[in-house]
Symmetry: C2
Subunit: 303 residues, 2 copies
């Protein structure tokens, strides 16, 4: 440890590690066959990465649930360009980042991320939380969308906060070159210090706990649905959009690709299989078309 204020970092780190365990257990239970590959990489200067990846399950085609805790002796100049007072200070960062690509096209892909950044300072530490979760269905179900957003709402201190973070999520997970949202959104927040450390950490725990309540029932409900080649092909094309978002627009992936971080961890979220079909448009009025016209354009799912 190179920072003194472990009183703040330790409980966050422990919560993220515990959440990783709970998510891994829940996904293995749902899959019923495949197991996560469990790895651990300890950095010589302190810090740990715990990537866990499941591949080729009967229901979970691929899932990556990654925990990281980074410890640095001093912040790099690029990280402090807009905050010169942080320059060369020791820092810690800890995060959980996860994605699920179900096999069944009726079950949605999901992504969740929570992170905490902490810099010890002479007076008081500088810190913030960030994160959120979002859902990417291939076929739209009103029940799923309402349940997803109601659970997201329940993690927020009030309705105004939910609507603000929901709007931020719609804005972030957007493909400008397609003029299309990646999915039906959820919550997205950054630079979060609202109410001080205790209140902020409480909010982050509420989001983390809500994630499983939001996703598991949807996944359980959709994996038994029969499907055929048509649904599979649509899922593969839509996963291509997911790959486009991650590689072209996602700030975390872009940073990871440019920073020389372990590439298999950076790209663990990529779809296991995806397709690009030239000028592919679903038939108007079809369930595939309904995803594009009735689910992806931002909507108030709690109205």
């Amino acid at each position: 440890m190179t920072t003194g204020d472990d009183a703040a970092v330790e409980p966050v780190r422990d919560y993220f590690m515990g959440l990783q365990d709970r998510i891994v257990d829940a996904l293995e239970a749902i899959d019923g066959q495949a197991r996560f590959r469990r790895e651990q990489f300890d950095a010589p200067e302190g810090g740990t990465a715990r990537p866990r990846v499941l591949a080729d399950g009967q229901h979970v085609e691929k899932a990556a649930v990654q925990f990281t805790h980074s410890v640095g002796a001093k912040l790099p100049p690029a990280a402090t360009a807009t905050r010169p007072e942080l320059a060369e200070r020791p820092f810690q960062a800890t995060a959980i980042s996860m994605i699920v690509h179900p096999r069944n096209p009726y079950a949605p892909t999901t992504h969740m991320n929570l992170r905490y950044f902490h810099v010890d300072m002479p007076q008081e530490p500088f810190w913030y939380f960030g994160g959120g979760f979002d859902l990417t269905p291939y076929y739209g179900f009103e029940d799923d969308a309402r349940h997803w957003h109601a659970t997201a709402r329940s993690a927020c201190p009030d309705a105004a906060t939910y609507h603000r973070l929901k709007a931020a999520c719609d804005e972030y997970f957007y493909l400008p070159h397609r003029k299309e949202c990646r999915g039906i959104g959820g919550l997205f927040f950054d630079d979060w210090r609202q109410g001080g450390f205790g209140a902020s950490f409480g909010f982050v725990r509420a989001v983390g706990d809500a994630f499983l309540d939001a996703y598991v029932p949807i996944l359980q409900r959709r994996v038994p649905t029969p499907y055929g080649e048509r649904e599979r092909q649509w899922q593969l094309v839509r996963r291509g959009r997911y790959a486009e978002f991650n590689l072209v627009w996602d700030r975390g992936t872009k940073y990871g690709l440019q920073s020389g971080r372990r590439i298999e961890s950076v790209l663990a979220s990529m779809p296991p299989l995806c397709a690009w079909a030239y000028d592919h448009h679903p038939e108007p009025g079809s369930p595939e078309d309904k995803l594009l016209t009735a689910f992806l354009p931002p909507r108030d799912w709690l109205a």
Copy 2:
């Protein structure tokens, strides 16, 4: 037409259109079943796009052979930042851009692009050519690599030019985040005005003509090779690298995604199907491993 000097643009445009026809005919003949979808989009201000895409052939899983001719009343400010003398001048640009994704994993993917940019100026026009071609095998064959590069060499005026453009190709088609070349390279050039218009256009025609001589024999030789699930899986994983290069690093794709050009044309080069497998490494000494160790690291194939 908004520029006066059609004497320069017309023969280039006609050569590119003719080359598009020749490539389309050659690929349809090799496939023997599938046909290219032929489209034409004429811009109201002049200029034409002729996308031609083939999907789901017996041998060609996907191919895109695109011709474009753009006519503009004045260059946008971003295009003339480093050349203020060109600001607000009328311009023309014409290009052929193509990619082939064969179905058989023993047959390599290829990419070729040739382009001409022309600005009328009070004294004499400003212009340049750019382009090249490169090969992306999934399994390495020394014969193929030597034939490919010998044909590339034959398009160049001398050995020094070949080696320079071959080095530029290796440098351009490189994935920094993987520390890996996309394929075994070929030729790459830009801002090409060497010897004046006549000599430059002659060189570009030599490159265009050489492309078919370089690729067709390799494709014909490899498509009958029997293959199974192992080779297909490797091809899909390697195609994921191709997608990474195009979406993350390729300047043309990046420009296309940000400029609002027709997205289906910009992404027509994307693989029809590709995979991301976590931490996937071929067995040392296997044919898959040999691609990585003996073919992708830049080599002098004519030595």
